[in-house]
Symmetry: C2
Subunit: 435 residues, 2 copies
Amino acid sequence: MAEPLNIALAGLGTVGAGVIRLVEANAELIARRAGRPIRIAAVSARDRTKTRGVDISGYAWVDDMVILGEREDVDVVVELVGGSDGPALALARTTFEAGKSLVTANKAMIAHHGLELATAAEAAGVALKFEAAVAGGIPVIKGLSEGAAANAIERVYGILNGTCNYILSTMEDTGRDFDDVLADAQRLGYAEADPTFDIEGIDAAHKLSILAAIAFGSRLRFDAVDTMGISRLKAADIEQARALGYVIRLIGMAEVDRTQGGDRLFQRVRPHLVPLDHPLAHVDGATNAVVAEGNFMGRLLFQGAGAGDGPTASAVVADLIDIARGEKGATFSMPAAELEMMEPAPTGHRLGRSYVRFTVPDRPGVLADITAAMRDANVSIESLIQKGDPDQDGEVILAMVTHEGPESAVSQALRILEGSESLTAQPLVMQILGD
Amino acid sequence: MAEPLNIALAGLGTVGAGVIRLVEANAELIARRAGRPIRIAAVSARDRTKTRGVDISGYAWVDDMVILGEREDVDVVVELVGGSDGPALALARTTFEAGKSLVTANKAMIAHHGLELATAAEAAGVALKFEAAVAGGIPVIKGLSEGAAANAIERVYGILNGTCNYILSTMEDTGRDFDDVLADAQRLGYAEADPTFDIEGIDAAHKLSILAAIAFGSRLRFDAVDTMGISRLKAADIEQARALGYVIRLIGMAEVDRTQGGDRLFQRVRPHLVPLDHPLAHVDGATNAVVAEGNFMGRLLFQGAGAGDGPTASAVVADLIDIARGEKGATFSMPAAELEMMEPAPTGHRLGRSYVRFTVPDRPGVLADITAAMRDANVSIESLIQKGDPDQDGEVILAMVTHEGPESAVSQALRILEGSESLTAQPLVMQILGD
């Protein structure tokens, strides 16, 4: 048996503990598959004494995680600290300076600093791998950057945040409202105490920007992801969508737009109406799923556990096995210097069908105002449902679905209605996922 | 830019032509991703003059494909001839003898000779890769052998034959009978003139045996796949299944059975009843899907185009890009010498629910005979549907679903009924896919 691959773990939260459990439980199998054992040489975390459910007494403890990569007995640093900057970023930089490889689950750091870090890793001739950063246990980074490598990818989209998907499918199953289900999710550990990154779509946007860079060979543009979360959704939206034959899912979607001159990058995270016959409509609970469309392979779907210590550890150790096998991979499926700078695509000309939810006073004339605005903006209405009874504030929900048309027309109609007394709250627009 | 990876193509059918089209269409992208161009150096096929829809005049023609690997200007031979033995096998052997890598889409050859060929490739220090052999454009070989490499895989199963899935979902949509739909599928090119390999489950068994070897680190045991195809299915089965809340799919399934002492290999290809809330129930047409369950990652699903020139070419070229990147991979996720010899698992003790279709004469007493046999064999009946009217032969279809119990009990009941005048044809048994 060859020399072991020596790793150092920075961060011993649930994922870090999961990696220790996995490396110990599957040690023999990993050695057979990797051709050499994976050995934990050192660990580091903020608090040495915290109870973690794993015994770390057999591993060297290092107080200052930033210098883990400088240890002679370490080949690869596994960064599970989190956060786009701070200790995680410092650790990544010192690791490459020390000529060691880095495996990370840190989507925020890759989304913000991926190009810099890939460049540093390449200059040092080492690996930067982050399978665990996107869609947990699903090998979608590998699937895109290697499995689909022969294809020009035309579109990549999917369900990238398990917390949102859990909340949406629970709202669907129970008819309960967002705040109520979120509170439950927090109690059950499916949502964090501060859920902003998840429910506002930021976590999904981090992941989408990483997938887009790999799929299109473009530089990371997290700053250019058009992002909206699920916090404004009501039980009534779910109900109306269901009545129309849809479920609501938070979809991250990226495309290269070639219609406006040059290659422009379209990236959007938003709740969408998903038709019941679409595979993503059946992705429930904390599951993640990613669809990639290539010019030769057609449509490919990856689905699995998007979070949790076991699945995330599985992805981290898959990266380590690649490195143990001597297969470093190209960080974003090609050298960093090859990645193209793409400007964000405008969105107004995009064709599609939209769902618009209006909150209106319960009085005559409202419908006439809204339909007049639609007519004036050239929006063609496919269906319109007014929910039966007004709520305690005398408000009624009006759910509208448009025929296919440019997104800018819907925006124009809403501008016409701005300030109108026929609306008691800002309308909510969602796209309907096409084929 | 580094030196090109020079390839030779053996076999210029639809997939071979697809590979040429892909390598030409995506040449620039492939070079960026692989770090070097992929260049077609030579081609060979049975008939030089056949029209193929691609121009091969720019590539060296070789009459004797078996010596392609011996050419100095060839780094990798791509075998797209097909057949478990014959020229394909001869070509594979001479290629490794010449110290060159082989990429193949040939599931039959790998299922029958995979261990010999992997051993030869390892001895020569070259790659043997066959992503295109299983599930067409879906990178499931890579997904299992690399993406899921950190896991003990407990079970792998899926829809592995697009022809059968097309026939079954068309029977479902149209209510037509098997022979009728098969004839149509042949006219449309979804089934071959001799459809035996597809409809009798042999093609799926080839693929399953390859997946099992990778998932479990076991030697290939195609000979031990318990195989039954779909040719005995009737429209009535589809209809009864639907009434009970199921669709019928040809499922290949493999597990390691540890209940009988030692690790034993369970491999089965059979039509199954799939509950409508299972992701595989929504896999329609010629689509393939594979589920793998690992001890850390949980359940992972890969879905996509299982056949066709584009998707298959995508998988072939993904293998070539891996080789161009210097990443040969371990043929079955570990060196051939590490693969364990596993004996086939017995099946009688397996617990599950079964569907049994009886064809019976339309007279009193039949039901009493059948239910008595079930009672005597300790089979507990969950439901029993007798289809309304007898057909032109005076026969009636009786569809039964059992409660969970050992498969041997159902076999025992059918043995009791053997030769009984209450049956006018051999009963058909299908398993119900569990969670």
